[in-house]
């Protein structure tokens, strides 16, 4: 569904845009940031505080347009077809690689130019309180005893499927997947004990504190300061860091001066203390990479995603 708020945002941009002069330096009018997921989702919750800081350093308002639908591919297509003038930005995460290889969308990450990496949200392997395992070790022992019996709720072919699949590979175990699209239905099923495990993130902290869920392991490089009791997969002997990373892209062909300006504003915005504070609430760490490094990073994770999708038999392209 293309959201009406998006329409309003574009209308506002047009109205202001026509008033500006044609020869001033970029940016001379407000910028549109396409978020391919609904207002209130994890991506939206990360980019709204970001946009607030970003526009300060850019010197022009940033209007967020939630262009949602079809696993985020509707927004991806709109971003790809937007004019390459620097006024259309695209908030992206790892799904762009997965939807492409799963054949859900025809937009690839290489249809864009990288601006910067903004934030990384580590995945957390989360267990229902109705399961017998209280720790990673107990889980591992049980999983080895009963291969293919422990159930994982996942959006098939998306990050919540890939993360447990990588754990399977790293720990040498076999799990059973049950289709639950989206975190909310997975949480319902996990709380009711209808599934044993799922991929979540630190935003679910409240339920862990209330004893309804258990965080078994976090896939970040180091333990999180907010939840220091949750061990990392690395220290548990599984060499796996899995974070949902979110960054900014612009359509291919956007002029270099505009890209440089955007990159500079992004670098400054991610250094703001208030942004770090907002991200803490999202169970997310600020992870800035400049355009060059972000581009290389995208190439690397695209290759990794391709490999894992092939191994899982989910490749359509």
């Amino acid at each position: 569904m293309k959201k009406i708020s998006g329409v309003i945002a574009s209308a506002a941009i047009l109205a202001v845009g026509f008033a500006g002069s044609a020869f001033a330096e970029f940016p001379e009018r407000p910028v549109k940031l396409i978020v391919p997921w609904a207002a209130g989702g994890d991506t939206d919750n990360i980019f709204r505080p970001f946009a607030a800081e970003f526009q300060k350093h850019l010197g022009q308002p940033v209007a967020i347009a939630n262009v949602t639908g079809a696993s985020g591919t509707v927004g991806a297509r709109e971003a790809k077809n937007a004019p390459a003038d620097g006024y259309s930005l695209y908030a992206v995460h790892d799904y762009i690689h997965l939807t492409y290889y799963a054949g859900l969308g025809d937009v690839k990450y290489s249809d864009f130019e990288p601006i910067c990496l903004v934030a990384a949200t580590p995945s957390v392997l989360t267990a229902s309180a109705k399961t017998p395992f209280k720790t990673w070790a107990e889980f591992l022992a049980d999983a080895k005893k009963r291969p293919g019996q422990i159930s994982v709720g996942a959006t098939l072919g998306s990050t919540s499927h890939i993360f447990p699949a990588l754990i399977e590979k790293g720990a040498g175990i076999k799990l059973k997947y049950v289709s639950y699209d989206g975190l909310a239905p997975r949480m319902n099923a996990l709380l009711g004990g209808h599934i044993d495990l799922t991929d979540s993130n630190l935003t679910q902290k409240g339920k862990v504190e209330a004893g309804l869920l258990r965080f078994l392991a976090i896939a970040s490089p180091e333990r999180d300061k907010e939840m220091p009791d949750v061990p990392t997969l690395k220290e548990l002997g599984v060499n796996l860091v899995y974070e949902v990373v979110r960054g900014l892209l612009v359509p291919k062909g956007t002029p270099a001066p505009a890209r440089a300006k955007l990159e500079e504003a992004c670098a400054k915005a991610t250094k703001e203390a208030s942004f770090a504070e907002a991200m803490k609430k999202q169970g997310t760490r600020v992870a800035f990479l400049n355009a060059k490094d972000y581009g290389a990073f995208l190439d690397k994770i695209d290759g990794e995603n391709k490999t894992i999708m092939t191994e899982l038999g989910l490749m359509k392209k």
Partner: protein, 509 residues
């Protein structure tokens, strides 16, 4: 608890909160009464405006939209026979016949007051039994959901006036429609014959508007210019717009069992994630008919039908707020948007939400309660103008409504695809009406189709043993109720036919 609630009400009565609450309710009513504009769409439009407000102001506005939207659907449902939102489908069954009979004011006000009482009773459940209700909801795994949906379909197929077989066939058609297009689990295209148009599937809303609005209006248009329509038109023009509020209130309050039972159905469906108000109103209507002493009056403009439908859909709102208050898990799309907005304000939702943020939690309860009288006031002023719609000549009204429906369908996705779906299903719906097939079971099949499939697949993915559907107690109970429901409907049918037969016999002598 009462003290906290009192504080919440006092806070909410400050202008600072009352204004967003009133505005939200008004916007909700408008959005709810426009066919094609859902409560979810309305609330998404409102969300960006709440970012600048303090959290409770924003939540008050959104609660207002939710309550207003659930009531707004009854306006179009009663006056035009088109459900403004899916949660007002059953309101059309009796509200529209009553309005057409020359009592549009009574139909509308029965709906308004039923919404008011249903919503408030739902609110009492929300505030006082959130914990236990939410705990029961969690027990529902894929097996239980599957069996519940089977029960829902069994119930509604029995609603049918004519033959139960036609009701079941209609349900089947609804289910089959959901099979077409991309499958919900692995995105494999099904029955698309290589067509891009079919591949996108048939989204629920354009089908609903097509089937109801188009089929409804076409049957009316058919009668234009025939003898007898002139008299009917005269009756329309002179229809009484005046209503005795006391009489309407009496009609509702003299049926406490109906009111409470419909409310309970609404809450139960609301607490369980995944289906929401669109199913609640039809199930409550079915229950009302089963318990009624004169089930044959249903569908001809009986007050019971309106009361059941409208009290259940507003109670449903209370129900769906239960899981979000208890666990921080949204039960439907509307509460998902509300939850997202809370997170943006930095509020950690979750099981400890109520104890950690009592001012906010009881503020939401207070907003929910206050939204109801506000809704009645707004509709009270609104009906003065809205009722005039019933005096407009059909030749003028029909094209306007059809155009509005087409625009509504277009606005869903900003594509012509949905408009074509509307047109296709308008024709299908019209043909089905002509052949005597009821449309409500079709719509329910359409609402539940994806969910039935998803939960069946989830159940099998979790455990391949099919006996679990019968050995898990809740699931078994629901399936037994489904069998019973069909049996009861058949018995009621037989009894009715026998009575008609005896009556005929008596006149013969």
């Amino acid at each position: 608890m009462f003290e906290l609630l009192g504080d919440g009400l006092v806070t909410m009565l400050q202008w600072k909160y009352l204004v967003p609450l009133c505005l939200g309710t008004l916007i909700g009513i408008v959005g709810g009464s426009l066919p094609g504009v859902t409560i979810t769409m309305t609330i998404i439009v409102v969300v960006p405006f709440t970012f600048g407000l303090d959290p409770l102001q924003g939540l008050a506005a959104m609660t207002g939209v939710y309550v207003g939207g659930s009531a707004g659907g009854l306006v179009t449902a009663s006056l035009l026979g088109i459900p403004g939102t899916p949660s007002a489908i059953a309101t059309t069954f009796d509200g529209f016949p009553m309005a057409r009979r020359g009592e549009p004011g009574r139909a509308l006000w029965l709906g308004v007051w039923a919404s008011f009482f249903g919503g408030l009773i739902g609110g009492a459940f929300l505030i006082f039994v959130t914990g236990p209700l939410a705990a029961i909801a969690l027990e529902f795994g894929p097996w239980e959901f599957f069996s519940l949906f089977v029960l829902a379909m069994a119930m509604v197929a029995g609603l049918t006036e004519g033959s139960m077989v036609k009701g079941l066939i209609s349900t089947g058609i609804g289910l089959l429609i959901t099979v077409i297009g991309t499958d919900p689990i692995t995105s494999v295209p099904r029955f698309t014959f290589g067509s891009e148009f079919v591949r996108a599937g048939f989204p629920f809303l354009p089908v609903l508007i097509g089937v109801f609005a188009f089929a409804q209006i076409m049957t009316d248009v058919e009668k234009l210019g025939r003898p007898g329509t002139r008299a009917a038109a005269a009756a329309r023009a002179s229809a009484s717009l005046r209503v005795s509020q006391l009489k309407v209130l009496g009609e509702i309050l003299s049926r406490p069992f109906l009111l409470v039972w419909s409310t309970v159905v609404g809450i139960a469906i609301g607490v369980l994630p995944a289906i929401g108000g669109s199913a609640a109103n039809m199930l409550a209507y079915d229950q009302a008919k089963k318990f009624s002493r004169h089930p044959e009056a249903f569908g001809t403009g009986t007050p019971e039908g309106i009361i059941a439908s409208e009290s259940s859909n507003n109670a449903n709102v209370g129900g769906s707020l239960v899981t979000i208050m208890a666990f921080g898990i949204p039960g439907d799309a509307v509460t998902a948007v509300m939850l997202g907005a809370m997170t943006i304000h930095g509020i950690q939702s979750g099981p400890l939400f109520v104890s950690q943020n009592p001012e906010l939690a009881y503020g939401i309860y207070a907003a929910y309660i206050l939204a109801h009288p506000i809704m009645v006031l707004i509709l009270g002023v609104g009906t003065l103008f809205l009722l005039r719609v019933t005096r407009v000549r059909l030749a003028v009204l029909a094209p306007v409504v059809l155009v509005l429906c087409a625009i509504g369908a277009y606005a869903l996705n900003n594509t012509m695809q949905t408009v074509y779906v509307l047109l296709t299903f308008g024709i299908i719906g019209y043909v089905l009406v002509k052949l005597g097939f009821p449309l409500a079971p079709l719509i329910l099949g359409l609402i539940l189709g994806d969910q039935i499939e998803l939960n069946l697949v989830r159940a099998i993915m979790t455990d391949a043993d099919p006996l679990l559907f019968l050995t898990r107690p809740i699931s078994a109970g629901l399936l037994a109720a489904a069998v019973l429901s069909v049996a009861l409907a058949m018995w009621q049918h037989l009894r009715h036919q026998r009575r008609v037969a005896t009556a005929d016999g008596e006149t013969d002598f």
